[in-house]
């Protein structure tokens, strides 16, 4: 099972990314567990400052933006 984390301090874009990730996971039947990380100390542990960021299995795959659905599909399945 993939471990997916959405890093963000709770802004609108962070929620937008979380919703989009969940939608892609559902539509593609991806076996994944999604967790939102809002604690700034935990976010910085990934050396990320610009949020929202997407982390898949411990690897930061996007940051500072909300990727489109097609790109998200790629980021979640690669």
């Amino acid at each position: 099972m993939k471990q997916v984390k959405i890093l963000g301090t709770g802004c609108a874009k962070c929620s937008q990314l979380a919703d989009a990730v969940k939608a892609v996971i559902a539509s593609q039947c991806i076996d994944a567990e999604v967790e939102k990380v809002e604690d700034i100390q935990k976010i910085m542990a990934y050396n990320v400052l610009s949020t929202p960021a997407l982390v898949v299995d411990g690897e930061v795959r996007s940051k500072g933006r909300v990727p489109g659905l097609d790109e998200l599909k790629d980021l979640l399945t690669r």
């Binding site: 709770g10 802004c11 609108a12």
Partner: protein, 131 residues
């Protein structure tokens, strides 16, 4: 991690006079409108900060500044997390700096914060700040 040290614009100006480095983390379009008119100011946009922060010398006193002091506070904490012991945040940003009559190039139009989401217009609530 300890809290970030914060200084007012007056203290920041004094520190710059004593050799501290001012790092402006506002985005390019903000800097194009108005910028700190001090020698040697370093520009690292917040949206690029986590990629470029190593350009900041770790052995100098460093003052991080933005528009109103919110993004710069996050950037200061980020630097502290990465071992920078001499970084401080300038409270209230270039807005207060300009209000104090300290040197600014250009005309300051944006009086609100930027966004932690890597842009100056990422807010959905119209306040200009989303974090």
């Amino acid at each position: 991690m300890n809290s970030a040290v914060e200084v007012c614009p007056e203290t920041a100006l004094k520190m710059i006079g004593e050799g501290a480095l001012l790092v402006d983390v506002r985005e390019r379009e903000e800097v194009a409108e108005a910028s700190f008119d001090v020698p040697g100011v370093m520009l690292i946009p917040y949206s690029e900060f986590d990629e470029r922060f190593r350009e900041i010398p770790a052995d100098r006193d460093v003052i991080i500044a933005c528009n109103v002091g919110e993004r710069s506070l996050m950037a200061t904490r980020f630097l502290m997390h990465n071992g920078y012991r001499n970084a401080v945040n300038m409270q209230y940003g270039i807005v207060r700096w300009a209000e104090k009559g300290f040197p600014v190039k250009g005309e300051l139009k944006r009086k609100q914060g930027g966004c932690c989401c890597g842009s100056t217009s990422g807010s959905s609530n119209g306040t200009g700040s989303c974090c």
